[in-house]
Amino acid sequence: MARLIRTEKEVEGHYTEQWIVVDEDALDQWPAGPLQTVGKPAPRVDGRERARGEATYTADIQLPGMLHAAVLRSPHARARVRSLSLSSVLAAPGVRAVLEPGDSHVLTDEPGYHGAAVAAVAADTFAQARAALAQAAVEWEVLEPLLDPDQAVEKGSLVSEPNVSERGATERGVSEAEAVVEAEYRTQTVLHNSLETHQAVCVWESGRLDVYISTQFLWGVRATVAEQLELPPDKVRVVCNFMGGGFGSKNGPGEYTFIAAELARRTGRPVRCALTRREENLATGNRNSTIQRLTAGARSDGTLTVLKGDYVNSVGFEGWSPSTGGPMELLYACENVRVAEHGAKLNTPPNAAFRAPGFVEGTFGLECLMDELAARLDLDPLELRMRNYADSDLVDGRPFSSKNLLECYRRAQPHWARREEVRARSQGPWKHGMGLASQVWYGGGGPPSYAWVRVGSDGRVQVVTAMQDIGTGSRTAMAQIAAEELGLSLDRIEVSLGDTSRGPFASISAGSSTIPSMGPAVRSAAADAARQIVEIAAQRYHLEERVLSLRNGHIVSADGGSWPIEEITELLGEGQILGKGARGPNPTGMRTLTFGVQLAEVAVDIETGEVLVDRIVAIHDVGRVINPLGASSQVEGGIIQGIGHTLSEDRLLDPGTGTVLTQTLDAYKLPTIADVPEIVAEFVDRPDEHLTNLGSKGLGEPPIIPTSAAIANAIRDATGANVRSLPITREEMLRALRAAREREGLERTAETVGEVRSA
């Protein structure tokens, strides 16, 4: 039954409370632990298709008569277009249409960052489109860019009001502390660099717009495009069958969709607008850089008395200020916490959500600070974290729907116990050490989301929902859930997704929400179909429905009777059993979060500053795990991306002009397979008993969150050096080692002076 309730909706750390119409979630959770299909490792159902190159990505879409767009982008970080002439562009070979500022809301004549879209062209081939753009006659008035984030905050150049929140009294917290550490941490700008660049193909047909797009949210694209183009939403169809990476940067339609749509409208032809790798590195969003000025104070027993964080997010020309202070507010049972976040508006490319935006950066600062505090107090870092364990959410006093971080810590202990052994491997210039860091993040998903299940006379099942699989294995997980509920093997389930005209509304794949939002809807639809199969079986075998259930491809009765499910489905003939299901509400008055801990083993060459990550153990608590194999893949991917963030990736600007210098993959250094350590993934795998009919939370983002702090803390353990700035290049590593030597020298001098005095 549909009900009208007031509930919370959360995406990537943003909570909104709203009235929603929501379906009841009447199913009891399955018992904990591995079941027939759910909880057991399942290879990707589409693995073969993808490995063979048969899967159709947006980049593979070829439509008859399709034109190719190219975009003229600002070479300046801040400029005005004094004059623009596209007549030579229009006259160039193969060109069919051009767009200039004013023709589309995504084109500007006052670009505020290097890479901002100014004009566009459609031609028969992409090479013709690129060549034609070179003919554009642009006269720029180049203006002085604002590039310094501290200066921006000082001048009040912000994307939004500063976000300040405080609990308790931090001044008192500082005065009660017996040890206080203050430190400034910095994180760099990093790029998503999705393998499939941002792109869309648009086709108009009889007043209807088809959008083929690499996206994380079919329905969001549909809504935004319809609104912008003033179309009824059902006149917009959005398709994404396979997707080559997004990591948060493909949550909306992007400028390329509007450019393709307008050029398609003008030419009456399908138009592809696909960004190049360089454009991908310029204008598709980034994880913004941060400056974090942090304070922690504690009593000598380790009890935190105060946490303070002053954060500057270098958001860019537009975008939003992520919750960099979130981990400081949520992770520890500290009474006095003050967090202030400033979103600096600069003449740099805008940020975009990037796999746990804010929390990745904030966790680096907070968890390094905790280790510096542990060192000051001479406490074991794991012990310090356990002493400040938060049993409930201190931000608003609510209980957690579930929290097994203590269990994560308990499972971390045998790995943590290797610390002495790891350190003992140190030899010559190579120093070995171990560090850990905790993880907190959202990931509970929420309504609305719907799924249908169709059972044919052959006893095969199709799950139909207009969700997207962004490469995370959602197809497989959804098939497992339906298979489990219907008592069928995985090979009898087909999942149809990726097309708004072929299924009901489905959640965004962001904020670690696909499994917790879509999984319960699929289970509920499968349960609806199962119920109907049982109804028919009860009539066929003259039994009561309550004694029948579906198991191993059979209908089984409590008295031992067993009939292959086809015996019932073949009665359907051309008929079908149609099940429908919806995501129910989130638990009221509770905070749903994901937790975890990671432990890193590193080796540092103290003469050359080389850092090698030898091993990372990840232990995460995300409720019930649907596919342990898919879950390990998520953890591996998150950690590898985290290693890039920690050691080598750095989007660099020219400090004078704001030009992006690292536009190609030789300059922007993603980790290679040689940089990947041994990765051990463990899951607590306990269903959250308050959350939906599955008890599952999301895992897309948690694994990348603690990686950088765990590595930095391991470096401190190995060398005594405080690395406080990402990436930890050789330059930063050598700087930190030099600072540690100087500090030690000063301490030695002080000791000597002390000894002399006492003598």
Partner: protein, 280 residues
């Protein structure tokens, strides 16, 4: 764009210039053509005319890095420098001749800033972002030479045979001057044909990178010992491969604020390279 396959090295060399550009492995040229850093009407394909393979210490300039890295005849420093270069795919395409002549990775140059190397009046990297840049020979242009094998060949004292002359590898390179911004002394219509590599008593190549593979050298150090004499050469520290007279010459380097760390790395790698060479 035309694609031609000349009949002889001489024919290839004489056709170069005026929009005709030599193509070997293409791993550097093709991206530069795409980016407008090189203009070409005609590509002169060298595969049929430039020698390929190794014979008694003579290396054909068309030999790929992948072939060199596994050739047991060659000095260790050269093999290690080849193996530490780029990725397996690039090493399978890239030739040693092309590798010696590859352009700098300086982002200002690659993005076509009107810099000193492009004929402009200043080096943008000196005042700008320059963590990958030079610590020697950097007063006019602070770019860093990207070739690992070039440093190895310099330390080994290799000689080049071109279509016009024979010269030590050291003479292939020059620092830019007001009048001439080229970083090599090769004439426009001159091709490298062969390399003559002396056999040292021992040699080694060590490389510091931003990641463990597929990255240009922050600092590369080649050391080769011939009897009592040991020669050292560095990659990634100057606009050209840099011969280091002796280890203490590092103290005469002129690092920029963002490249001072390279001196520290170079000191460590030079010490290690020397320590790793067995003594007689």
């Amino acid at each position: 764009m035309k694609f031609v396959r000349p009949e002889s090295p001489e024919a290839a060399a004489s056709s170069l210039g005026n929009g005709s550009v030599a193509l070997a492995g293409g791993t550097d040229l093709v991206p530069m053509l795409r980016d407008g850093l090189v203009q070409a009407d005609e590509l002169v394909f060298l595969r049929d005319v430039v020698p390929r393979g190794v014979q008694s210490g003579r290396i054909g300039a068309g030999t790929t890095l992948a072939e060199l890295e596994v050739d047991p005849e060659l000095p260790q420093a050269l093999r290690e420098a080849c193996a530490a270069s780029a990725s397996p795919q690039l090493r399978s395409m890239g030739t040693i001749g092309g590798n010696l002549l590859q352009a700098t990775r300086c982002w200002y140059w690659r993005l076509r800033f009107p810099c000193y190397l492009h004929g402009g009046d200043r080096c943008h990297a000196r005042q700008g972002t320059h963590r990958e840049h030079a610590i020697f020979g950097n007063d006019r242009c602070a770019s860093a030479h990207p070739s690992d094998p070039a440093a190895a060949l310099l330390a080994l004292g290799a000689r080049l045979q071109t279509t016009r002359r024979e010269l030590p590898v050291a003479d292939l390179y020059r620092l830019p001057t007001e009048e001439n911004r080229n970083l090599t002394a090769l004439e426009r219509d001159e091709l490298i044909l062969e390399l003559d590599v002396p056999t040292p008593d021992a040699s080694v190549y060590l490389k510091a990178m931003d990641r463990r593979a597929w990255s240009f050298a922050l600092v590369g150090v080649a050391a080769a010992r011939f009897g009592a004499e040991t020669r050292l050469a560095l990659a990634g520290v100057a606009p050209v491969p840099w011969l280091l007279e002796n280890p203490s010459a590092l103290e005469q380097s002129t690092p920029l604020p963002g490249t001072a760390y390279k001196v520290e790395i170079a000191r460590a790698l030079v010490r290690r390279a020397l320590a790793s060479l067995p003594t007689t």
